[in-house]
Symmetry: C2
Subunit: 492 residues, 2 copies
């Protein structure tokens, strides 16, 4: 019972490629959101696993019958929810290479190319994003591919805890004695929940998390408020460890002022981790590089290729300015992992840059994307969505039945329905409009709440999305809002 | 610059399938271990990323020229290092489905099938492994697919920290105030380093890690020593949190006595996490189910489908007996993730079972494997390697030039070269034999150290490995040992 022989794989592989091609060719005709009830998928599948082998055709039939209707179609051109999750077919090809090779890249020595292709790519992307040479291996820093921005934030926090503890008088640091309850981490109310989760995972507890006020009239972190919080905590004998400015928050795309935040943080020796999970890739375009102004001052920077950069999950890109920071925090070497290359100090062992020991050759899918699109193609991809969002936002501005909740941020437009009946009525109408649209299956939107107000988010960025789909969304918003207003009027 | 159109993907996808088929068909003819020097791969690739799109042919040419020689071939039939990393082509087909669908399964509502197929599969596998109904969703527990056993251990530890803190007099638990320095975690010297890493990540520091002695004459945890350590720590005001028995240690395949360990741990309310990353899948075969004797008493159990169960990395299977344990420890819900299904309490949101927010539809590759092999095929796969290892161990036993370092464990054989010159000479010869064989490219072996003695590990389990390859390894071991003995004699 060995693996498929190569000829059988050729036949079945071609069949799978065709299945995927057909799915993508037809996805626009499916309802975006799955309408199945909890438990339906489970009810459709046998509880017992098969005792004997079954043909692939039978599996594909189950996928068509059960999985496709149970799927919310993230690759649908009218998927405007959360942030996009570009799973390009180009990246699928690269990931086939990865599974085909089937290497485990925990150490340089367990497959040199798995490590060095990643190094080359991340060095190249650091340049293309304008991060500066200090984030390249040549410059003493370096990048790695993590599974998610949550993990990127976690390992940045661990590196920060390790660095801060090196100055303890006892000589024993975080690796030996753990955290001590005096650590403090600085975010805003708009920072992604993965930071709060990293703080919890790292054993600090919610009490360690400081929510810094925004600058007046904005959702962005106030450098003055940060300075005050850092000074107060330091004076109280607490230890500021890490501050996380966000470039493009999940709720509304707000952008914390990286330079000003970093300048304040540096005075206290605090690690600065930039979470640019969604928006960071826009810095490939010179006209958007202002977003990252001051990034040369920070300690770590994260952006996700698996959101808006055409690379199937998982591919979160994390750069640090000190290549020894993550290994210093994370390395533990039992005998069975010892090898001559590691002992030489001439190589990077990426296991020491992450929580997990094992790792896929994820660089192959990212490489395939960069190679096949070229930087020009990646920029065009970003620009097209930003332009679609700008045009969409103009329509919102011009229609008295709608209002922008905040100014658009790159390809994210946040809006609400205006009823003339006051805030509560607008919020209720906005919620109903979103629910109607999602239930229709024609488009998918998600929401957030800002200052207590309900906000509809329109995140443009699915690969298949064109002007036609954005226009259709606008038409549906206008029609649905009119319907909701009429229902309210009839009920009133 | 959108994604590949479906027809172009069909053409390129077929090309990639053929590349993978050709690679696998020819891998046995390549040297197992990459012989490139540090920096060679980087030196072969342009530092600048391409500005314009380039054809896939050009990428495949780079892969052939640079990546293949830079790869240690884990799918080679003579790869006997570490543990196997079965990346079956069958699982590749399933993973193509996953990327093809391109869903993000963080919440049930973001793709119901992504969650429910995983639930059905993990429930089914719990039964097939003999874990008992308490580890199924129907029985109040449940399973999930993590990226690695490291992550499985980490989240188990976090759940244990949360559970233990619920009894604090203050009413504030681990989620609010973090760890307090009194926590203790119990392992053996043979436990995988991922446990020490989890302890570090969780903020406990190395001082929290207790190394429990083995039973006399064995490498397995002594229940009596564990009982003594737990009692002493509790008496000292420390808080025992988690004990990790291993079923099949990485070094030698040692098996801690799960039942006895769990009985002792239970008296102290300590979480028991079984790390059976490599060996656990063998419990699919009734004749090996004794390995897990007592598993019905533990809190969590991990085994990796991506080692010996034909599923490409990543697919670490983690079951817990209390389905609320991981969400209790890990859930944080910002507004933008709120949804009706979650609020209803009727669904599992797997984001709350892991550190990362995002997740792939990994169940598809595992499902494809289970479906295509059937449980009978999976058992045959395990049995074949165990039988090969038993026959190989017999040869070691019968040859006075070799000795078993420990009795073989399933498909892992640990041996040393016997020179007649004493321990130090045997160790040196064993090391030289391993280095000669690895340098030859004909096979790949890794080592460990047990009680200060150098040990050659022969881990049988690559999908392509047959009797022919094991026989060839034995012949090479015999010839190489003779050569090393002759070199030593000549030098002496």
């Amino acid at each position: 019972m060995p693996d498929l022989d190569p000829e059988e794989f050729r036949r079945l592989g071609h069949q799978l490629v065709d299945w995927v091609a057909d799915y993508r060719a037809g996805v626009a005709d499916l309802p975006v959101r799955s309408e199945v009830a909890p438990g339906w998928v489970r009810s459709q599948l046998p509880a017992e696993l098969p005792e004997e082998p079954r043909p692939l055709d039978a599996l594909l039939a189950e996928v068509d019958r059960v999985v496709v209707p149970g799927t919310t179609h993230w690759q649908h051109p009218s998927f405007f929810g959360y942030f996009p999750a570009n799973a390009s077919l180009t990246s699928l090809l690269g990931d086939m290479l990865s599974t085909g090779l089937g290497v485990q890249g925990m150490l340089w020595s367990t497959s040199p190319a798995c490590t060095e292709v990643e190094q080359v790519l991340l060095d190249g992307l650091a340049g293309a994003l304008g991060l500066g040479p200090e984030f390249t291996f040549a410059g003493g820093g370096g990048g790695s591919i993590q599974d998610s921005a949550s993990s990127s934030a976690l390992v940045a926090l661990l590196a920060a805890l390790h660095r801060s503890s090196k100055t303890r008088a006892s000589g024993e640091g975080w690796r030996e004695t753990g955290v001590d309850g005096t650590e403090r981490i600085y975010v805003t109310a708009e920072t992604h929940s993965s930071l709060a989760k990293a703080v919890r995972v790292a054993g600090l507890g919610a009490r360690a998390l400081r929510i810094v006020d925004p600058s007046p009239g904005s959702l962005a972190m106030s450098p003055a408020a940060l300075a005050a919080a850092l000074a107060a905590d330091a004076a109280a004998g607490l230890r500021p460890i890490l501050v996380c400015p966000t470039v493009g928050t999940t709720g509304t795309g707000a952008i914390d002022p990286v330079r000003a935040v970093a300048e304040v943080a540096r005075e206290h020796g605090v690690w600065v981790h930039v979470d640019a999970a969604w928006a960071g890739v826009a810095a490939l375009c010179p006209e958007f590089r202002d977003l990252l102004d001051g990034v040369e001052l920070v300690d770590s920077f994260c952006t996700n290729a698996h959101k808006w950069l055409l690379t199937a999950f998982d591919a979160s890109l994390l750069w640090v300015r000190d290549a020894t920071a993550l290994p210093g925090a994370l390395s533990i070497t039992p005998e069975y992992l010892r090898n001559a290359a590691t002992d030489s100090g001439d190589v990077v062992d990426y296991r020491d840059w992450q929580v997990s020991l094992g790792r896929r050759f994820r660089a192959l899918k990212l490489w395939t994307v960069v190679h096949s699109y070229g930087l020009a193609g990646l920029r065009a991809h970003v620009r097209e969505h930003v332009a679609l969002a700008a045009a969409f936002a103009d329509r919102v501005r011009e229609d008295p039945g709608f209002a922008l909740a905040v100014e658009p941020s790159l390809a994210l437009v946040c809006l609400r329905v205006v009823t003339g009946g006051g805030d509560a009525a607008d919020d209720a109408a906005s919620r109903r409009v979103l629910e109607h649209i999602n239930a229709s299956g024609a488009a998918l939107l998600t929401h957030t709440v800002v200052d207590g107000r309900y906000v509809i988010r329109v995140a443009i960025g699915s690969m298949a999305t064109t002007k036609e789909h954005v226009d259709a969304l606008w038409a549906q918003l206008v029609a649905t809002a009119a319907q909701v207003r009429a229902e309210v009027a009839a009920a009133g």
